[in-house]
Assembly symmetry: C2
Homo-oligomer: 266 residues x 2
């Protein structure tokens, strides 16, 4: 998503040239290119698929909508398995129109996880609940903290449900380091993602994630927390940023790799 | 601030006509009108000043800037005393330019409170740390949760330092109800403010606070929490909203009073 202006073949080629060993993919471009074809493309390039984004949107009250969401998540699990990644990232969903019941919405997420966890396990895929920044609580994700995500995840086995740790969403939270330790202790850190926090936020607050190093987040500090919690998996950089999307994708990818070396690695 | 398009005499008159018994004031319009003159105006109208907004901005690293901030907060305390309100609301300040150290910034707030607490007490004024929504952590307020605000406040006597509970900033937080109880148990709920959460957020996310009833927050639920915690003080409605500011101020005030009756009172 960081360089969504690149086609999947361009992306694979650019990753290989830069020595980037793995890539997190989003469902829409994968579906357009073809799931099998993407799996082949990435495999032939020698890349791993770190995660697939995204399942979720479990908070509907209407039974038909709920069943549709669960069915779509089964397809997402199938796609993840075909791509050879073991992790499907979940954006859990916001409040249904007219509802003010955060607690009820969170319980409906648990209900959906109970249905999907065993199906994911059968396909060798783990579900990663991603807490989103509290500014998305109404319209995208009622799971706003790592603590809330773990409260949900811990109802299920760790090989079925864990969490996605993304600096952009949790950097403000003084409880997050302890929650990362909690997640690590039960093997529930299913991915670690980076984006920097820059202001002012754009209208709608979706596409203002900062390039690594441009903002307020100490990336090495957070990397230290997940490493101390035993995490040894990939580190993903996921930027939604209109400014980066308007530039040449290969240049943005090269810049991002440089920023990784400067602000994260070592 | 909800009807900043009204002059202070218009505001006082409109409050009296609507039967609104008290008003929270902001420093800039009070300074323009004159602090003594405002005190007289409000007193003559039979209104109480519920709180003065705002002091704070304590996070500068530069010693001269810090001293300037403390001096300005002493003036704010003087103004609050002159206006006859017992509460000065604090917006604590964001990260200094180039800093990524949230913990250090929070400690500098504690240092400033230690200087200002006794001065406030001498003037019969309580300081109310307002946790701001985590989306303001970088640029306005590194105190993002009621728990963080209370961790700071509890280093001082409750009659010196407490918290401001504002639904807009804490509604997403499943720990907030327990923190309201914690605040109430030590007499630290110094004011209770309402605004509703509406989306999409505007650019810069400052002026998108929703009219009561238009958004995702169950106001009676939060009123229940502060009442259960023993709070019997005023309930303030504080909306920063370009749409409301563009309308006739008296009409907006009347609408807000109606919304209070429909969504909050009783």
């Amino acid at each position: 998503m960081t360089v969504k202006q690149l086609s999947l073949p361009e992306l694979a080629d650019a990753c290989v040239r830069l020595g980037v060993p793995g890539v997190g993919l989003w469902r829409a471009p994968v579906q357009s290119y073809g799931v099998e074809a993407t799996a082949r493309l990435v495999r032939d390039a020698g890349l791993t698929v770190t995660t697939l984004c995204r399942g979720g949107f479990f908070t509907a009250i209407d039974p038909a909508e709920r069943e549709q969401a669960v069915a779509d998540n089964r397809r997402a699990i199938d796609e993840a398995a075909t791509l050879g990644t073991d992790t499907l990232v979940l954006v859990s969903g916001g409040l249904p129109a007219g509802s003010r019941d955060l607690h009820g919405a969170r319980e409906r997420i648990a209900d959906a996880l109970a249905e999907l966890g065993p199906y994911a396990e059968e396909h060798g895929v783990r579900l990663a609940i991603e807490p989103l920044h509290p500014m998305y609580a109404a319209d995208r994700c009622v799971v706003s903290t790592l603590a809330q995500a773990l409260d949900l995840a811990e109802r299920f086995p760790a090989h079925q449900v864990g969490v996605a740790v993304d600096t952009y969403h949790i950097w403000w939270d003084d409880r997050a380091p302890a929650q990362i330790a909690r997640a690590g202790a039960t093997g529930r850190i299913h991915t670690f993602q980076l984006a920097d926090w820059t202001t002012p936020l754009p209208e709608g607050v979706l596409n203002g994630r900062g390039q690594i190093g441009d903002g307020s987040i100490d990336m090495r500090e957070w990397k230290g927390y997940v490493e101390a919690a035993g995490y040894t998996g990939p580190i993903e950089i996921e930027l939604f940023n209109e400014g980066l999307w308007a530039r040449d994708g290969r240049e943005v990818l090269a810049e991002t790799a440089e920023r990784f070396v400067t602000y994260v690695a070592g």
